[in-house]
C-alpha cells in the first residue's frame, strides 16, 4: 500500500478511536472552551477602566468616626469608586446591609484575618481638611494583601480628591511648606493663590468629580487620540483577543501532544511491531498520526474561536482567509511539536512530563497567559520568547483580531513563515527520531 492511502487509513483509525472516547473528546473541546471563557472574562474585567464595565474590585471596610459633612462626602465618594467594593454595603433605603463595625472592632477583624483592609475616618477629619492639617485617616491592613493594597491606595486618593474637590492637594502643599519652615503669612498667601487655581480647574471640569488626571488630559498637556480600525469589533479588548488566541494555542498544544502520545501507546501495546511488518511505508504511520492530529486540532480551534466569537465577538468572520491560514500554520507547528515529543520520548510518562513542562514555559513566554511581547524583556527572555510557537501564533491572532491585519501584512506573513519553518524542522527531527527509535528496535 502506498504512503498516502496508508496514511489516510491510519488517520481514519485514529480519529475513529478518538471520537469513540466521548469523555476524552468532550474534555478536549469543553475544557479549552471553558478556559477561554474564564480567561476572556477575567482579562476583560482586569483591563476595563472606570467607564468600561465590570472591574476587579478590592473590598474595603470603612467606619466614619468624624460624622461630618466632609467625612460623609468622602465616605459616599468611596462607594462610587469602580475600584472598590465598600463595606458595610447599603440597602436602597440607606440602611446597612452588613454589620457596621466600630474602629476597634475593625482592628480586631483585621487581626483575626476576617478583614484585609479597613479605613478609619478619624475624629477631626473635617477640621483637619479646613486647616490644612494632616488628615486623621488610618488604613488598618493585613500586610499579606499587598496587591489589593496598591489598588486601595489609588482608589482612596481618587475619592479623597474628588470629595474635597482637590483641596487635599492644596493642603499637602501647605503642609510641605510649613515643614520646610516657611512663615505662616507666606504659606497663607501661597495657599490662597493655589486655592484660586484649584477652583478655576474645578469650575472648568463642570460636573465631573475632581480628578488629578484631568489636570493633564483636560488641560491639553497631553492630547489623547484613540484610533479604532474601522472593522474591529468595538466591544473586544486587546487583552480579550490575546486571551482567546493565547488559551486556544496553549490548549491546542496540550491536546495534540496528548493525541501524539498514541504513537507511544502503539509501541507499548505491540501494534507498532505489527504495523511495521505490514506492506506500508513506515512514514505513513507518522503521516497518518499527523493527519488525525490535524483534524482534531482543526475542530478544537474552530470550537474555541466560535466560542470566542459568541462571547466576545472577536471577529472571526472579518477575514476568514487570514484566519484560516493562521489556524492551519499553527496546527501544523503544533502537530510537528507533538510528533517530536512522541518520537523523542521512550515512555508515555516521559512524553507527559516533557510536553507539560515545555508547553507551560512556551505558553508563559509566548504570550498565551499575558501579553509579554509588550514588555521590554531582557535579551535571553526575548530570544526565548521568539523561539516559541505561542509567540508567533498568538501575535498573529492578535494582529488579526485586534489590529485587523491580514495576509498582506508582513508581520503576519513573517509569523506564518516562522511557524512553517518550525513545522519543517520539527517534522524532520521527529522522522529522524522515529526511524532510529522505532524502526531498528521495533
Amino acid at each position: 500500500m502506498k504512503l498516502g492511502p496508508a496514511a489516510l487509513l491510519f488517520a481514519r483509525k485514529d480519529l475513529s478511536l478518538f471520537f469513540r472516547d466521548r469523555t476524552a473528546m468532550l474534555l478536549s473541546f469543553l475544557m479549552p472552551a471553558t478556559l477561554v471563557t474564564i480567561f476572556g472574562y477575567l482579562m476583560g474585567m482586569m483591563s476595563s477602566d472606570s467607564d468600561g464595565g465590570p472591574m476587579a474590585r478590592a473590598t474595603l471596610w470603612v467606619t466614619d468616626v468624624d460624622q461630618t459633612e466632609d467625612s460623609r462626602s468622602f465616605y459616599a465618594n468611596l462607594r462610587t469608586s469602580s475600584l472598590l467594593s465598600v463595606r458595610p454595603r447599603l440597602n436602597d433605603d440607606g440602611t446597612y446591609l452588613d454589620t457596621a463595625y466600630t474602629a476597634e472592632q475593625l482592628r480586631e477583624k483585621v487581626i483575626d484575618g476576617k478583614v484585609d483592609h479597613a479605613l478609619i475616618i478619624g475624629k477631626g477629619f473635617a477640621q483637619a481638611l479646613a486647616s490644612a492639617e494632616p488628615l486623621p485617616l488610618t488604613m488598618v491592613r493585613d500586610p499579606g494583601a499587598q496587591m489589593e493594597g496598591q489598588l486601595l491606595n489609588i482608589a482612596v486618593m481618587q475619592s479623597l480628591s474628588a470629595s474635597t474637590e482637590g483641596r487635599v492637594f492644596t493642603n499637602l502643599l501647605v503642609q510641605n511648606l510649613r515643614d520646610a519652615g516657611m512663615p505662616d503669612i507666606a504659606v497663607d498667601q501661597i495657599r490662597a493663590v493655589t486655592e484660586q487655581q484649584r477652583e478655576l480647574l474645578q469650575q472648568s471640569s463642570g460636573d465631573q468629580p475632581f480628578n488629578m488626571m484631568n489636570l493633564f488630559s483636560g488641560r491639553g498637556m497631553v492630547k489623547m487620540e484613540d484610533h479604532v480600525p474601522p472593522e474591529r469589533a468595538n466591544n473586544v479588548s486587546a487583552i480579550q483577543a490575546q486571551a482567546v488566541g493565547g488559551i486556544a494555542v496553549m490548549m491546542l498544544l496540550f491536546g495534540l501532544t496528548a493525541a501524539s502520545a498514541s504513537l507511544l501507546r502503539e509501541r507499548e501495546g505491540g501494534t507498532m511491531r505489527r504495523l511495521l511488518s505490514l506492506p506500508i511505508p513506515p512514514g505513513s504511520i507518522l503521516l497518518g498520526k499527523a493527519l488525525a492530529m490535524g483534524v482534531i486540532g482543526l475542530i478544537q480551534l474552530t470550537v474555541l474561536f466560535v466560542v470566542g466569537e459568541f462571547l466576545f465577538e472577536i471577529g472571526i468572520w472579518r477575514d476568514p482567509l487570514t484566519l484560516g491560514a493562521i489556524i492551519l500554520c499553527t496546527i501544523a507547528a503544533a502537530v510537528a511539536f507533538g510528533l517530536l515529543i512522541a518520537a523523542w520520548a521512550r515512555t508515555p510518562k516521559q512524553a507527559d512530563g516533557m510536553s507539560t513542562l515545555v508547553i507551560l514555559v512556551m505558553s508563559c513566554l509566548g504570550g498565551s497567559w499575558f501579553p509579554l511581547q509588550t514588555l521590554d524583556l531582557p535579551m535571553p527572555m526575548n530570544v526565548a520568547m521568539h523561539l516559541t510557537i505561542n509567540h508567533w501564533s498568538v501575535s498573529s491572532f492578535q494582529n488579526l483580531f485586534w489590529r485587523t491585519k491580514s495576509l498582506a501584512d508582513t508581520e503576519i506573513l513573517l509569523a506564518l513563515g516562522v511557524l512553517l519553518l518550525f513545522t519543517v524542522l520539527a517534522s524532520w527531527q521527529a522522522l529522524r527520531l522515529f526511524r532510529t527509535r522505532y524502526l531498528e528496535r521495533a
Binding site: M1, K13, L17, R273, S277, L439
Partner: protein, 255 residues
C-alpha cells in the same frame, strides 16, 4: 549448522548475524524453510528466536548475511511489497483494545493492501478461524486472554500471506484456546501455507513442526526432524526435551 538445501525452499537464510550494540543476538545463522512446511525455531529465552523473526518480518534492518525469498535476495525492511507476503503474529498482543474484533481485522487487512471487499472477506474468515464470529462486534478489551490470542493469530493471517511468522503464539492461554490455535495452525499448514513457529515448549514443536532448528545464544545447534536431531546426538530414542537439554545445557536462562 546447515540442513541439506531443499529444492523447493521458500525462504533461505544464509549467515544471518545481528548485533544490538556490542551484544550479539544472532550469529551466522543459516537454514531453509520449504514451501508448505511448518518450521520450528526452538530455543530457551534469549536464544535469538524473536530477533530472527524480526529480521524476516522487516522490523530490524541492521543484520548482516543474506535472505532469499522464492530464490530472490531480499531485505524486508526496505521492501514494502515483500512485507505483504510475510505475515507476523507477534509475541505481544498487537491489537487495538478500543476497537471491536471485526474492526481490528478489517483495519489490518486494509493496511496490508486488501480492498474493502477483500478485507471484509478476510475478516469473516479470520473471525471463523479465531472462533469469534459471535463476538465480532465486541470490543477487544472485553475479551479473555485466550480470545485475544486467537484474534492475534487471525489478524496476522488476515491477508493470507504465503509465509506466516508465529512468535510464541500460545503464551499465557488456557488449554482450550491453545488447542484451538494448534488446530488452526494445522489447518493452515494442510492448506499449503508455510509457517515458522518459535517456542520453547517441546510438545508444541512435536505436534506442529515438520522440522526444527534448535538455537542457543544466537547460534544454531541443530536442524532437522525430531529423529534426525536425536540421531545427531547419538541417542536415537531420545525425546525432544532430552535432545534440547543435551544441546542447550541445563543452566538457567534469565535473559
Amino acid at each position: 549448522m546447515t540442513a541439506a538445501p531443499p529444492a523447493t525452499a521458500l525462504l533461505e537464510v544464509h549467515n544471518l548475524s545481528l548485533f544490538y550494540g556490542e551484544r550479539c543476538a544472532v550469529q551466522d545463522l543459516s537454514f531453509q524453510v520449504r514451501r508448505g512446511e511448518c518450521f520450528g525455531l526452538l530455543g530457551p529465552n534469549g536464544a535469538g528466536k524473536s530477533s530472527t523473526l524480526g529480521c524476516l518480518a522487516g522490523l530490524l534492518n541492521t543484520w548482516q548475511g543474506e535472505l532469499q525469498f522464492g530464490g530472490d535476495a531480499i531485505r524486508p525492511a526496505d521492501d514494502v511489497s515483500l512485507r505483504g507476503k510475510i505475515g507476523l503474529v507477534p509475541q505481544d498482543l498487537a491489537l487495538y483494545e478500543d476497537m471491536t474484533a471485526v474492526e481490528n481485522l478489517i483495519f489490518f487487512a486494509r493496511m496490508a493492501g486488501l480492498s474493502k471487499a477483500a478485507a471484509k472477506e478476510g475478516a469473516d474468515r479470520g473471525l471463523e478461524l479465531a472462533g469469534l464470529t459471535d463476538r465480532a462486534k465486541d470490543r477487544v478489551d472485553s475479551f479473555s486472554g485466550g480470545m485475544k490470542r486467537r484474534l492475534n493469530l487471525a489478524v496476522g493471517d488476515v491477508h493470507e500471506p504465503p509465509l506466516l511468522l508465529l512468535d510464541e503464539p500460545t503464551v499465557g492461554v488456557d488449554p482450550q484456546s491453545r488447542n484451538h490455535i494448534f488446530e488452526t495452525l494445522e489447518s493452515l499448514s494442510k492448506s499449503g501455507r508455510t509457517l515458522i513457529y518459535t517456542t520453547h515448549y517441546m510438545e508444541e514443536v512435536e505436534r506442529l513442526c515438520d522440522r526444527i532448528l534448535i538455537m542457543n545464544e544466537g547460534v544454531a545447534l541443530g536442524c532437522g526432524t525430531h529423529a534426525e536431531l536425536a540421531t545427531s546426538i547419538d541417542q536415537p530414542n531420545a525425546t525432544l526435551e532430552e535432545v534440547f537439554l543435551n544441546m542447550t545445557g541445563r543452566s538457567l536462562r534469565d535473559s
